[in-house]
């Protein structure tokens, strides 16, 4: 047992997966010698050698496309995209190939790869280092999209994503990479490679991050800790107990957990950092209304980033959903 940050937990998972299965290889810009700009892959080159941990040329389509070819040959590549926005040069490979390889091969040859994308703002980074592109992947059939929020989830979900035969877009909220530590056991959370499909469960279920029956707040990634803070404030300020649902899986959404929370509470709020229009919040809102409108005392509303380019960082806190904004949104739902 040790206290680990999310970065360390991811690093642990990669060590464990590579140890367990020599088909696992890591590719990306600066992932080997330096261990990645966020150090998620630190130490892996020394441990597993330069055939399996590769500093690639600077070309995202080349990286993702090569990884697809490797997967076709039976390897299990884990790709790092250096920052959110830099996935776009490789977008074509993801949409027309990674997402469709299983389908195009009668299910025989899925593109078994994991694409790790550190994403989101709040780290005072220069332009184009703070985007939240997850909804784009959620809209593309054939992908799984996940986002852990705690060190333990990060570890478990990374192991599951590597086990999963389908391509997994693994969104890493860079703002909470080192935001806190928790006990993460060295023990494997489930037996690897025993074909019991445990990965499926780890990758498809939401988590109740805070219990409550008065208001459901559905969120994921960097806004989870903020939402919990807002929930505490609501408890103090008006005695309202908000249930915070951390989605973890963005595709497929855990519709049962979402609808149950909304139905039980009768009121729901969705929170995310990405721009609002056609973001994941719209999907969650639509799902809840479609299935539980009669249980609702108020419409589901959304607290999100705005429909604008992520601002230069002196104004990023104006853009980001804050505890204040989440609380205000919650009050709106509660006072409807």
């Amino acid at each position: 047992m040790s206290q680990r940050t999310m970065v360390e937990a991811l690093n642990l998972a990669l060590h464990q997966a590579m140890e367990h299965d020599d088909r696992v290889v890591l590719l990306g810009e600066d992932v080997a010698k330096t261990g990645g700009v966020f150090r998620v892959t630190a130490g892996l080159l020394d441990r597993f050698g330069e055939e399996r941990v590769v500093d690639t040329p600077l070309a995202e389509a080349g990286i993702i496309g090569s990884a697809i070819g490797m997967a076709v040959y039976g390897l299990l590549p884990v790709v790092e995209i250096q920052f959110d926005v830099f996935v776009y040069p490789g977008f074509e490979q993801i949409v027309t190939h990674a997402a469709r390889y299983a389908w195009r091969t009668k299910g025989e040859v899925p593109a078994s790869l994991v694409i790790r994308i550190p994403f989101g703002g709040g780290v005072r980074a220069p332009e184009l280092h703070s985007d939240s592109p997850e909804a784009l992947f959620v809209h593309v059939p054939g992908l799984k999209v996940v986002c852990p929020t705690t060190p333990n989830d990060a570890r478990d979900m990374m192991l599951a994503a590597i086990e999963d035969p389908d391509p997994v877009i693994f969104m890493e909220p860079k703002r909470i990479y080192r935001a806190g530590r928790e006990e993460v056991s060295d023990e494997l959370p489930f037996a690897l490679g025993n074909g019991d499909g445990r990965y499926n469960e780890v990758l498809s279920k939401a988590r109740v991050a805070r219990e409550g029956d008065d208001l459901a707040i559905i969120t994921y990634g960097p806004t989870v800790p903020l939402t919990i803070q807002a929930a505490e404030r609501l408890a103090q300020e008006r005695g309202v107990q908000a249930r915070v649902v951390d989605l973890r899986s963005l595709y497929p959404l855990d519709v049962d957990a979402i609808v149950e929370a909304a139905s039980t509470c009768g009121r729901a709020l969705v929170v995310h950092e990405a721009p609002r229009t056609a973001g994941l919040g719209a999907e969650v809102s639509a799902l809840i209304h479609e299935r539980a409108i009669l249980d609702l005392e108020a419409p589901v509303i959304r607290v999100t980033g705005y429909d604008v380019p992520f601002p230069q960082f002196a104004n990023e806190d104006d853009y980001l959903p804050s505890v204040d904004r989440i609380t205000a949104g919650a009050n709106k739902v509660l006072d409807f």
């Binding site: 090569s66 070819g69 390897l75 490979q93 009668k106 025989e108 054939g142």
Partner: protein, 373 residues
């Protein structure tokens, strides 16, 4: 402009060179059989499209040498990555011709797709040049596993303009993967002639940007295609990395069945290249060498005709797949709940009439639309 490797003459001005080392008479006849099988498939597919029995089809008439010649050089364990233009290359590797025809008929799932691992033939790639990185990744993976598998990928002159061509070439060169980049330079990308596509006179010159050795061959000559590929594969397997083969030829026919080349080029130009087309040329070569008799030739053609006819029959015996096919094989890990919902919705309504290859559903200018690949 560098010289062009050519082995088979035209029986007139262009002299024959000797049969390359490593090819027996049997090989030569087998290669001819491949050429004929491809040609037969292609001509039949065009006819099927004209009859409204399959959809838009991307023909390759005249490019058989680039396919059969290159493939013949591959070991059975080597992987090949075709574009839409090499759509039926799999039939030389055990993919049923009916499956390829079914793909063009609009069938998916088990009818129109194959298992690439079974044949070492990747799926047909539609977006230009995007399969090149896959070929690189595959050979790279083989290297990591210390296996001698090589990869070969076909693409057109137009494809060299895409960023994926560049990234794939660079990765292959840096990682020294055993990859053959086989460019079918037919001098046209739909209506765009090569001189609007690039400023170089040749494709081969592009190898220099990656320190990748390049060779130009007569793309209508199966033996030249074979020889260049063979050497490239040997280089790759020896650990010397990728090669670029430029198979210089000419697109003798339309880009696809929806394309009308008269809109953009003088068709008499195609006529000037016609005598170089590979099937007749290989037959002439074999006859000049006394390797194949007219009877053998006839029987090869008849056999091909028969086998493709059988494939057509098989393809046409496929019934329109059920609606559930939409949701099949999308995820290898199982079906997300959204699929159950979708299927339930679908099953709640009457099924639309069977989709025929031609003509959009409601009175639109049929055929005009899906103009091209």
């Amino acid at each position: 402009m560098s010289e062009i490797l050519r082995i088979i003459g035209d029986g007139k001005e262009i002299p024959d060179a000797g049969v390359p080392d490593g090819l027996s008479d049997k090989d030569l006849v087998e290669m001819y059989r491949w050429l004929v099988l491809l040609r037969t498939f292609d001509e039949r597919a065009v006819a099927l499209q004209r009859q409204g029995r399959i959809g838009t089809y991307a023909l390759y008439w005249g490019e058989e040498a680039t396919q059969a010649g290159a493939l013949y050089a591959c070991a059975a364990t080597d992987w090949v990555f075709p574009s839409y233009r090499q759509n039926s290359i799999g039939i030389l590797r055990g993919v049923p011709a009916a499956t390829v025809l079914a793909w063009w008929r609009g069938f998916g799932g088990v009818h129109g797709f194959w298992n690439p691992r079974e044949h070492r033939v990747a799926p047909i790639c539609v977006p230009i040049a995007t399969h090149l990185p896959h070929a690189v990744g595959l050979a790279w993976a083989a290297k990591i596993k210390h296996e001698s598998t090589a990869s070969l990928t076909w693409f057109g002159d137009g494809a060299t303009s895409e960023g994926d061509f560049h990234e794939a070439m660079n990765f292959a060169a840096v990682m020294k993967t055993a990859t053959v980049f086989f460019c079918v330079n037919n001098q046209w990308a739909i209506s765009t002639p090569i001189h609007k596509q690039m400023a170089t006179a040749t494709i081969a010159e592009k190898g220099a940007a990656y320190a990748i050795p390049a060779i130009r061959v007569d793309g209508f000559d199966p033996l030249a295609c074979w020889k260049a590929t063979k050497e490239a594969l040997e280089r790759g397997r020896a650990g010397d990395g990728p090669s670029l083969v430029e198979a210089y030829c000419y697109r003798l026919k339309a880009h696809g069945t929806a394309d009308d080349p008269r809109l953009y080029r003088d068709e008499s130009e195609a006529g000037r290249w016609m005598h170089l087309e590979p099937v007749g040329r290989m037959a002439g070569f074999l006859k000049r060498l006394g390797i194949m008799t007219a009877e053998e030739e006839e029987s090869i053609r008849a056999e091909a005709k028969e086998s493709i006819a059988a494939a057509v029959k098989e393809m046409e015996s496929i019934e329109q797949p059920g609606r559930e096919i939409l949701f099949e094989h999308v995820y290898a890990s199982g079906r997300p709940w959204t699929f159950d919902e979708g299927l339930a919705e679908l099953e709640g309504v009457e099924r639309p009439p069977e989709v025929k290859p031609l003509g959009p559903p409601t009175g639109a200018g049929a055929g005009e639309e899906g103009k091209t690949q």
